[in-house]
């Protein structure tokens, strides 16, 4: 007999617990959920905690990909081999909250919350990450841009659990920029994640906090891909023919957004900040 807080030890046990207690709240790092619980805006009847599901807490290489378990924390993304394999994810992780928050908060939690300001989401968008989900009907994989369907809304069905995030390991520069009112403990006003794939000859720009869901700046990407001297890629450095392309990239990036006025910023400022962040990202990547 379990109390209202269940602590399964494995993914299978977690799925069984979710079946046994329909409507249970899934708890990962708690850094979003407990804020709502403490404020009285969410009053759970029952909780399935992932605290003891060790198989969600590790990451592994799988061919050309890395598969990051849903309960890998930001602190774990900041350091070591994972940080080197996916530099933009590491950079995003470093900007999040405080050491205490980064020690607890998880990549799966960021996806489950699906806030427009979720800090890993633009990185996952730029990398074309695939979200691995398990549920009563089995396993499915959903691209991140399809996974998030609206403000704090996802494709997750009752009884389903995000188990991992699959990311490609790419050769080429990656950058993450974020605008907020200060450097620590800040909810982002604008985020830009840039990934350059030197082998696939692609430039990918993911943007966050500028639309209900994370977005890709497709027009800007195609524009810059046409400016890059891909044939000159030898030592891992890439060049563009004309440095004015960077500003053009930034301006096109701003057109991909659908920002709003809110208590953190105005839509006009967000558009401007996107153009600046996108330009700086490519200047850093291509210099």
């Amino acid at each position: 007999m379990n109390g209202p807080v269940v602590l399964p030890q494995s993914i299978d046990e977690t799925l069984a617990s979710l079946q046994e207690t329909p409507g249970a709240t899934i708890l990962a790092g708690g850094t979003d959920l407990m804020v709502a619980v403490n404020a009285g805006t969410h009053r759970p009847e029952s909780v399935v905690s992932l605290a003891r599901v060790s198989e969600l807490r590790s990451w592994r290489r799988d061919g050309d990909d890395v598969v990051v378990g849903a309960c890998v924390t930001y602190t774990e993304m900041e350091h070591g081999e994972l940080a080197a394999l996916v530099p933009a994810l590491c950079q995003a992780a470093r900007t999040i909250g405080s050491p205490q928050i980064r020690n607890a908060a998880t990549i799966g939690g960021n996806l489950g919350t699906a806030s427009p300001a979720g800090d890993t989401l633009p990185v996952l968008a730029a990398l074309d990450a695939v979200i691995e989900i398990r549920g009563p009907a089995g396993t499915r994989s959903v691209p991140v841009l399809e996974f998030v369907t609206g403000v704090k809304k996802t494709v997750l069905e009752p009884g389903e659990l995000v188990t991992a995030v699959r990311l490609p390991v790419l050769r080429g520069p990656q950058e993450f920029l974020k605008v907020g009112t200060r450097n620590a403990m800040v909810i982002s006003v604008v985020m830009a994640a840039l990934v350059v794939d030197l082998d696939g000859h692609t430039v990918r720009l993911g943007l966050g906090s500028v639309a209900p869901v994370p977005v890709r700046a497709r027009e800007a990407e195609v524009f810059l891909e046409g400016q890059v001297d891909w044939a000159g890629v030898g030592n891992g450095r890439v060049r563009v023919a004309d440095a004015s392309a960077f500003a053009g990239f930034g301006e096109l990036a701003a057109t991909a957004t659908a920002p709003i006025d809110d208590h953190r910023s105005t839509a006009a400022y967000r558009r401007h900040a996107v153009s600046v962040c996108a330009r700086r990202a490519v200047e850093r990547a291509f210099s």
Binding site: G3, P4, V5, L7, L27, G29, G30, T31, L33, M34, V35, V37, N38, A39, H42, R43, P44, E45, S46, V47, S49, A51, G97, S98, P99, Q100, I101, N103, A104, N183, A184, M185
Partner: protein, 170 residues
């Protein structure tokens, strides 16, 4: 009325039983209101201020963001349980007093736990590492200068180049 939770916590080396807790009770609430450990302070309840910092299985977290029942069977160390040798205070606590790093004192327990955690992992942090390590602990009185000085005094003391070592070796 929803079902209540009963669970065991390992706090500061002692097993404690929590009975009849509301499902959503935070570890901070359990520590302060049920277990008589008021060292971790309750301020923002959203992880912004760091005044409730504790160690959970050796990892620094905000106790307000930990669901109490999900900490069952895990090791919790609060400011009351930090290793203090034979004395009443830890070296970090003593340094905070000596350097004048305590004003109203509300943020102090969280900062003490945070500085202990940092120096366990990194005995000689750079100034930047020190500043980043305490970036999740808000202090509205001191301006942080004396807190940084206190942490640096502990680093010097532990490495053998501190004031008392110099005095005794002189």
């Amino acid at each position: 009325m929803s079902e209540t939770a009963t669970f065991r916590l390992h706090v500061n080396g002692t097993e404690r039983v929590v009975e009849g807790a509301w499902v959503g009770e935070s570890l901070l609430y359990v520590l302060r209101e049920r277990l008589g450990l008021p060292g971790a302070k309750n301020a923002c309840e959203q992880g912004e201020c760091g005044s409730c910092s504790v160690l959970l299985d050796g990892t620094l977290v905000c106790a307000c963001l930990v669901l109490g029942a999900s900490a069952a069977e895990r090791e919790v160390v609060t400011v009351e349980g930090l290793p203090n040798g034979d004395g009443d205070l830890t070296d970090v606590q003593q340094a905070f007093i000596d350097e004048g790093a305590v004003q109203c004192g509300f943020c102090t327990p969280g900062l003490i736990v945070t500085v202990h955690d940092l120096l366990e992992r990194n005995p000689s942090p750079s100034d930047l590492e020190l500043r980043e390590a305490i970036s999740g602990n808000l202090c509205r009185c001191t301006g942080y200068g004396r807190i940084l000085a206190a942490a640096q005094a502990v680093v010097a003391e532990r490495s053998g180049s501190g004031r008392s070592q110099r005095e005794t070796s002189a």
